[in-house]
């Protein structure tokens, strides 16, 4: 009934597909051949030229030339002498300009906070700002993060941040340069001539020098951990003029009782020890009121001040409350057992001032008088000393808590500023009769201490203050605090001469 059957295939041809193919055409194009030609040139004459700048040589004055070279000098003096003397006498008696003041610039009457710089990462970890430094052009501020209240050895990673305040797109929450360091950084100092080089001292005793103008590895030189380095935290670094003109060496002072001078070896990126000083209690000079500290084996250095007048002198403040006057060129050898250092350590102490109750956190020489300096410590007082006598000239109560840093104003000879453990900046004017601060600036840190303060060397109305909550406040000071009055240097001189014999 049902059988298999195969049928033929049935196909239907497409009509449109074929017609498409019929309309196909091919086209081609080609550029014309490109003409090329070769030619050569060669310079036959070569000329070299170079220029170089030189430090300005001071003009020679013709002071040793004879009067005979200047005919008519005598007559000139005869003619002019009477006129000049008349004017001199008139001027010395004149009251015409008493109280006459000219305002060249807009007087800024108030102190305002320009920026509040923060590094979010460091703040989250609860790090505090331990030191700030302005560079020599006054446009970059660097701050080091660490801890001041930690008594224990810490290996916590910290950082150094810089901000360039002259840039248009300054973001106070984001630093321009962030450098990570292995241990908390205790002190920073910018190079006095090169605007991108700065040195820092770490909690572990190492000293590093960075160059922020480099693109890759920012570390210019470091001490590493050798027999020469400090074993204790480095509390102060500074740049000191070296042997050759224009060269600077790094001075580092640590609580191990050592002040060391390092030269930068750029080729090997190392800091090599060039000379060192050790502080031994037995070798301390006995001066009147000072008594030998009992039971201590080292005099831990917590602050150093270099004299801007006398390149040989420097002051040292210690953990035990001593302030010592030292000299770089002293020759006596320190009585420490040699510990594998490459240079012999010398004893620089020359004079000891009357000791204080607690560690001396900061010492600063006055930029206007060669004999005066101010020192502050944990006893809450600021002592104004003259280098010539052991007892202080003035003792001013700054605050009830610790005082961490003090700096003289770079423009007004009688003004200095100190930061306290309550987060206030107290500015004192010695020209006023009362010993109370002329102005108090609150850092808005909620009672947390402020640790460091620096005046901007170029824009002298700016002041940077580093706080324990990890922020740096940049304050613009009023004209009253920054403009020098007429007689301030004379009053300072008078103060300095109150030295009792």
């Amino acid at each position: 009934m049902f059988t298999d059957e195969t049928l033929d295939l049935i196909g239907a041809e497409s009509t449109w597909r074929k017609s498409h193919q019929q309309t196909q055409e091919s086209r081609s194009c080609q550029t014309l051949p490109v003409h090329t030609a070769e030619a050569e040139t060669q310079a036959k004459d070569v000329l070299e030229n170079s220029t170089q700048t030189q430090d300005q040589i001071s003009q020679t004055l013709s002071l040793d030339r004879d009067i005979s070279d200047f005919p008519g000098l005598v007559e000139f003096l005869r003619r002019v002498e009477d006129v000049v003397i008349r004017e001199l006498v008139k001027n010395s008696k004149s009251h015409a300009f008493d109280g006459f003041e000219v305002n060249w610039e807009d007087q800024n009457d108030s102190v305002s906070c320009m920026y509040r710089l923060q590094h979010v990462d460091a703040q989250e970890r609860g790090l505090q700002v331990t030191s700030v430094s302005w560079n020599c052009t006054g446009s970059v501020i660097a701050c080091g993060f660490g801890r001041m209240d930690d008594g224990d050895w810490s290996n916590e990673k910290a950082s150094v941040c810089t901000w360039n305040l002259d840039r248009q797109n300054l973001n106070p929450m984001r630093p321009d340069v962030i450098i990570d360091v292995p241990t908390p950084i205790m002190c920073l100092c910018f190079h006095p001539v090169r605007p991108s080089v700065f040195a820092g001292g770490l909690y572990s005793g190492e000293v590093l020098v960075w160059d922020s103008s480099r693109s890759q590895d920012l570390i210019l030189a470091q001490t590493g951990m050798s027999a020469d380095t400090h074993r204790e935290p480095v509390y102060q670094v500074n740049w000191v003029p070296g042997a050759r003109r224009g060269e600077f060496v790094v001075l580092s002072a640590g609580s191990g009782g050592r002040v060391l001078l390092w030269t930068i070896d750029g080729a090997e990126a190392k800091l090599t020890l060039s000379s060192g000083y050790a502080f031994v209690p037995q070798q301390m000079p006995q001066c009147g009121a000072a008594s030998k500290p009992r039971g201590s084996t080292t005099i831990g250095v917590t602050s150093v001040a270099l004299s801007p007048w006398d390149l040989d002198t420097f002051l040292v403040g210690s953990e035990g409350g001593l302030v010592l006057k030292c000299s770089f060129s002293s020759g006596t050898v320190a009585a420490v057992p040699p510990d594998g250092e490459s240079v012999t350590l010398r004893n620089p102490m020359q004079f000891s001032f009357s000791p204080r109750g607690g560690p001396i956190h900061s010492v600063h020489f006055s930029p206007f008088h060669r004999n005066l300096f101010v020192s502050v410590g944990t006893d809450g007082l600021a002592h104004l000393h003259s280098v010539l006598q052991p007892h202080p000239l003035l003792s001013i109560r700054v605050s009830d808590s610790y005082v961490f840093w003090v700096r003289w104003s770079p423009t007004r000879p009688l003004v200095f500023a100190a930061v306290t453990g309550q987060g206030l900046v107290q500015m004192f004017d010695l020209g006023r009769r009362s010993l109370r601060p002329t102005s108090t600036i609150d850092q808005n840190t909620g009672g947390q201490p402020a640790y460091c303060l620096e005046f901007n060397p170029k824009h002298t109305n700016l002041m940077a203050v580093g706080n324990a909550d990890g922020s740096v406040n940049i304050w613009q000071l009023s004209a009253e605090l920054t403009e020098q009055g007429a007689k301030e240097t004379a009053v300072l001189e008078q103060l300095a001469n109150e030295v009792t014999d």
């Binding site: 004055l61 013709s62 002071l63 000098l73 003096l77 000049v84 001199l88 007429a486």
Partner: protein, 126 residues
């Protein structure tokens, strides 16, 4: 003033300077007189320094240090010339006799002349 033949230095070194009216005076007397005059001026109340400059701007005698002197001379020479031309532009028959500049810290006095310039810096004693 030295009288040449009647002066006490007559008989020794006869170096002389001749003045405009052809009078001769001993060189050593002239030098002493110059130093005396400058010392007198320097001794007045409040005078910080004094400088004598020649027409080319080269300091001849000064009581200040080299770098300060060079700075004062360079700047004040130009200022004196400018002041003189200002006076003469306003009135060609007039001329500058004395220039005083008062600043916050001191007063600078300039006595000009054809060949020389004297600069004295005094701080006001209030």
């Amino acid at each position: 003033m030295c009288d040449y033949q009647k002066c006490k230095h007559w008989g020794g070194n006869q170096d002389y300077t001749s003045t405009r009216n052809k009078r001769k005076t001993h060189l050593c007397c002239d030098m002493a007189e110059v130093e005396d005059t400058l010392k007198r001026i320097q001794g007045y109340n409040g005078v910080i320094g004094s400088i004598v400059v020649n027409a080319e701007g080269i300091p001849i005698r000064t009581t200040l240090d080299n770098s300060t002197t060079v700075q004062y001379v360079g700047l004040l020479h130009q200022l004196t010339m400018k002041a003189r031309s200002t006076i003469r532009d306003i009135d060609p028959q007039n001329d500058l006799t004395f220039l005083r500049i008062r600043s916050k810290k001191h007063e600078i006095m300039v006595a000009p002349d054809k060949e020389f310039l004297m600069i004295v810096i005094q701080s006001p004693t209030e």
